[in-house]
């Protein structure tokens, strides 16, 4: 009489234990974000957001494409025009005087170019090509093809250690809102951005990753704020394409340039 419930309990516990990995895996699969992503699908809008884009650049590109006067202009010329429009109409009015002092930065000043220093947060999260997302119980691990960079996003709400100095990729905590991964990042060391300005270590960012219904795209919408360089936050977007067959290869042959030309010296 007393042994049966005991055995039953053991069996139940064993079944529950066996179920835990399945539960964790099932939880991981629900968002649909996990796996390998890479360059976006071959459409004009997606390609415009291959590095990053804004609603302003997408709307302007649409305008250019809809105008018959542009039918004979190369597409590359139109996408560059949309990029210039974005720079002047979206970014420049949002920059502080401090950021405008050196804007746009000469690519020859990029430490990644000059000294092979891996990118900081404001470039890395927009890097093209491979981007892998793996979810664990307490964290999400992100790996990028560019620079073979790795990033940890804590899901357990832990706070940044007080004695930890700002780092290139900062301190990130995240949570899921339905199928959307929301990440808040701070404590990023001042560095360069992909939008041609510098930022300070006051930068904060809220990233939102979603996988729309077709499943072929991963979308990022990120709101970036930095009181030193921005008068108001900027909202940037990026698109990846599902790429389960791609791999991240070693990034070990970066060499500082032996020759280059500064902007003012170029024709």
């Amino acid at each position: 009489m007393t042994r049966t419930p005991c055995l039953a309990s053991i069996v139940i516990i064993q079944v529950l234990l066996l179920c835990i990995p399945t539960f964790v895996q099932a939880q991981a699969d629900e968002s649909g974000l996990e796996g390998m992503w890479s360059d976006p699908p071959h459409t004009i809008a997606d390609s415009q957001c291959s590095l990053f884009c804004t609603d302003v650049s997408l709307a302007y590109l649409d305008e250019l494409l809809d105008d018959p006067a542009n039918d004979d202009r190369p597409l590359a010329e139109l996408t560059r025009a949309a990029g210039r429009y974005q720079r002047e109409q979206y970014f420049r009015p949002r920059f502080t005087a401090a950021a405008l002092e050196n804007y746009p930065r000469d690519p020859a000043d990029d430490p990644g170019f000059l000294r092979c220093e891996p990118w900081g947060f404001a470039k890395q999260i927009f890097s093209p090509h491979q981007f892998e997302i793996r979810r664990y119980d307490d964290r999400v691990e992100m790996r990028y093809g560019e620079w073979e960079a790795r990033r940890t996003v804590y899901l357990d709400g832990r706070e940044r250690p007080e004695d930890q100095a700002p780092s290139p990729l900062g301190w990130s905590v995240g949570h899921y809102e339905g199928d959307t991964l929301v990440i808040k990042t701070s404590s990023v060391r001042g560095n360069l951005t992909f939008w041609g300005a510098e930022h300070s270590d006051q930068l904060t960012a809220v990233e939102r990753y979603t996988r729309p219904d077709d499943g072929e795209r991963l979308l990022l919408s990120v709101t970036v704020d930095d009181p030193w360089s921005l008068k108001q936050p900027v909202v940037l977007k990026k698109v990846w394409g599902w790429a389960p067959d791609q791999e991240i290869s070693a990034y070990e042959n970066c060499e500082p340039p032996t020759e280059f030309s500064r902007r003012e010296d170029r024709p």
Binding site: S38, D39, H42, T43, I44, S47, S50, L51, L65, D66, P68, D71, P74, L75, A76, T79, R80, G83, D106, P107, A108, D110, G112, F113, S127, P128, H129, Q130, G145, E146, W147, E148, F194, A243, Q246, E247, I248, S249, A250, Y251, E252, N253, C254, P257, E259, F260, S261, R262, R263, D265, R266, P267
Partner: protein, 147 residues
């Protein structure tokens, strides 16, 4: 080894992929407004990150051997387009056009690679560029039909 002369063409030949993948600062090194074409024998192909390289032996107009260094997108980009370590073979003759260095050294940023049989080894962005042009043509057609 008979080689073609080197042509310096002041032609703007930015590919649509230029704006898409100009993520590594190559603009301080290569002049995207110019295209140079060289023909020679491949002596080395290194499929690395962040950039791949082809070493090319070229004989100039004076008959002297000049060693050219051709830079390409990195392995993480080229493999997306199906490139492998065997995509360019040591000893094969190729014609390469690309953007020259500002300093005038024997270096190029690769834009086109034509094999001895006339076929082109396409960069990953070429397929995308074609798809985008197709989409654009469809878009123009649909617009014209609406109007």
């Amino acid at each position: 080894m008979k080689q073609r002369p080197i042509w310096l063409l002041g032609i703007l030949t930015l590919l649509s992929t230029e704006s898409l993948y100009a993520h590594h600062a190559r603009t301080p090194v290569y002049d995207a407004s110019l295209t140079v074409t060289v023909e020679g024998l491949v002596t080395e192909f290194s499929l690395f990150n962040p950039h791949a390289r082809i070493a090319l032996d070229v004989t100039d107009d004076a008959g002297d051997l000049v060693k050219w260094s051709i830079e390409l997108p990195g392995k993480l980009n080229l493999t997306v387009g199906g490139w492998t370590d065997e995509s360019v073979v040591v000893g094969e003759r190729v014609t390469i056009s690309g953007n020259p260095t500002y300093t005038g050294s024997s270096g190029l940023w690769l834009q086109h690679l034509i094999r001895a049989d006339g076929s082109e080894l396409l960069l990953p962005g070429a397929e995308r560029a074609n798809a985008l042009e197709d989409e654009r043509r469809r878009r123009i057609k649909e617009r014209d039909q609406r109007n």
